[in-house]
Symmetry: C2
Subunit: 432 residues, 2 copies
């Protein structure tokens, strides 16, 4: 009834009730109903009383701002088109026929759309048979780790790097070998030393376009050196190009997977979740080795049998109709402006204490905190309504870590960026 009288969806009302119960304003008595709590939480009332005036609701005591590690803004995606495409997909023969089973490698129509998209937009030529659709890029990393590596093998990874990729590789029973990163990307000489010393080193995982977490773009010299080394040593490259489209200065750098054809085995991983929202699960792997592709498909089918057919078809429609490209062009302009705004706000609010290099692409700034403890800082920030992940989690040995934050700017609008920066400045730890 409340939903009807407010003209909102039932779930919205349910969610609002749940939040009020969680916060302590309401209590639920089974089989009686939901009532205003007798015992209202005193600290919340005093916090409310001292909070900012109404009007800017994000200034309220409870509207925690979530700083991501660099996700897209789901508020910008083409909702109407996606909703319509999903409705069509539910009525499509591919979903209705054959008992509803799908291909564990992913819908043919989505793999076809991706093949065309990758060839045109990224110079990566791959047939449908060389593309595997996964739920998100996390599953791509997980099945690639299992297909490329055996228990006891080692894989070189960037350090600092992407901890969720490490977890995926470790789950396959492999050892991680951390290789340092400088302003040109992974330090290939150090990788060469590791390859010379470790006979069980089979692969290297890199994020060359916008290194995770430092945002550095790998230089062309470094790319050439990396490819030459991997060719010489027979190392497979796992290339994670998670936010390819969001390059702001100059042309995007083309993937390693596109340049050297069959000479080096480059397994290429991408994500549609990064273009749309992490809540929409679609990633993919390009792999030219047919036995490795077979192993990955089998791994996928053991883990999850097949993907979600309507979601795959709906997104295929977005790709084929050009809606994804139009969305990306629009979002890129917005994200570029947010990058500039965040850089300006950080400089203004934190001055020389916090250093960063303006990245030529990607959806985050890598803030070096000049010795301030990121764990302490993140904890203090949380206390005043700012959620941000500690940068030290991106180091293999967090205790030896440079203190840093990876501050995603794309998912926040202008007001949120301003507010988040203020909260970050307000929560900085005192000098010792």
């Amino acid at each position: 009834m409340l939903a009807k009288s407010l003209g909102v969806h039932r779930n919205t009302v349910v969610a609002a009730y749940e939040e009020l119960v969680t916060q302590g304003w309401l209590v639920t008595h089974p089989a009686q109903g939901t009532f205003v709590a007798n015992d209202l939480p005193a600290e919340l009332i005093s916090a409310l009383a001292s909070s900012k005036p109404p009007g800017d609701k994000r200034d309220g005591a409870f509207a925690t701002i979530y700083v991501t590690d660099g996700t897209a803004d789901a508020r910008l995606i083409p909702h109407a088109e996606l909703g319509r495409a999903f409705r069509h997909a539910l009525a499509a023969p591919a979903f209705l026929a054959g008992g509803g089973y799908g291909n564990p490698q992913g819908s043919s129509v989505l793999r076809g759309a991706l093949a065309e998209y990758l060839a045109i937009n990224r110079g990566v030529a791959a047939s449908k048979e060389e593309i595997l659709v996964t739920r998100g890029s996390q599953m791509a990393l997980y099945v690639a780790g299992r297909a490329l590596l055996s228990a006891g093998d080692a894989i070189a990874v960037e350090d600092p790097g992407y901890p969720l990729a490490w977890s995926a590789f470790k789950a396959a029973g492999t050892h991680l070998v951390g290789i340092p990163v400088d302003e040109h990307g992974i330090v290939v000489e150090r990788l060469a030393e590791a390859a010379a010393n470790l006979p069980n080193l089979k692969a290297v995982y890199v994020t060359p376009h916008h290194q995770y977490p430092t945002t550095v773009t790998m230089s062309s010299e470094r790319r050439a050196a990396l490819l030459a080394l991997c060719l010489q040593r027979g190392l497979t490259i796992v290339e994670d190009d998670y936010d390819h489209e969001f390059h702001f200065d100059g042309q995007p750098v083309l993937p390693l997977a596109g340049q050297y054809g069959g000479k080096v085995n480059v397994v290429y991983i991408g994500s549609l979740s990064k273009l749309l929202s992490p809540g929409l699960r679609l990633g993919y792997v390009v792999c030219r080795s047919s036995p490795q592709m077979q192993a990955m498909v089998e791994s996928c089918s053991i883990i999850d049998r097949q993907g979600d057919v309507p979601v795959e078809h709906a997104v295929a429609t977005l790709v084929a109709d050009g809606d994804l490209r139009r969305h990306t062009l629009k979002a890129r302009l917005i994200y570029r402006a947010r990058r500039s705004l965040l850089a300006q706000e950080i400089r203004g609010a934190l001055g020389p204490r916090v250093e960063f290099d303006l990245p030529s692409g990607g959806l985050a700034l890598w803030l070096r905190l000049g010795g301030a403890d990121d764990r302490l800082w993140a904890k203090r920030a949380k206390g005043i309504g700012l959620s941000i992940a500690e940068g030290s989690r991106c180091f293999i040995h967090p205790d030896s870590a440079a203190n840093a934050f990876r501050f995603g700017f794309a998912s926040l609008d202008e007001a949120e960026i301003r507010r988040a920066t203020k909260l970050l400045a307000a929560s900085q730890p005192q000098d010792k």
Copy 2:
């Protein structure tokens, strides 16, 4: 243009073109277009010429009928409601806020809806915190295997049983111990012998409601004996209740997970894909052990970070609004009629050669082939347009297998059931 002039979706036209290319009627010349093939496939023309008259298009030479192992009919699901719920979910704060990240345990709103649904419909009392949402029940099996068992542990499984569950457990490095099944379900005395002899036996995987593949419902004596043995030996029960709602004769038997509370550790697995369509990926696990639940959530986040938020919210709306319950009631009547029809058609077309017991629930018949080779039979069936999986894949040692088919009736309409039965009869191997 063709899509527009026919008034169909672009993907439909693309799919039609693809199929015509695959069949050899059309050829694609890159950068020129698609043309009628010069070299039309002769065998297809002759097959067409000799096929049934138009009108019954499923009688055509190419309309292979897919017999599943017992999936729902995606043509019956509430498409309009689901499409609308998905569109709402795309605009919901849970999807738009917080950078789009979701909870790796699954959306709170879906876990809440499931908790209520399981309590009311199945007598399984579980809090939201005791429920994990997975993509399909396959992922539920995969993460349960990893969380409950260590490499080198053994798990007892029904033999014949569900081979995809075996793959999931084996991926965790465990050993399978096959336990026979009779007309009352798993033979508990044989499980007791295994437990006495194998100190590394930690768990047993069962499908008590409608045993996979034999469709047998476990008797109450057997249930009591199983629970007593597992309590005595400290075995965890993994209960897969994959098609609970589709019980036709009498009341559904309540899950083991509901009857014995905290005494035996019963990890309960269910699937929403079985209620709707395997192309829609949603399964879940109920687990009362908090450390085991934590391990499963962590495993999920390494494999796939989180679920698809709009899909989870859309289906939660279907559950909360009663659409899922209404759909289930409607589908149950239809499936019941299809069960009777298939039984009658099999008796008519195959007579005493093929034996089966009419199951009290589930979406398949288990056909025993009286010594005929199911692999040969399936191959011959495929040649005349009937796809059905060999029953011997459900045995741990396929060579010692009783020859059988698991024939899913729910995903086929009346005409398809009649046609499939005719094709099955027409393809039976000759007696030696």
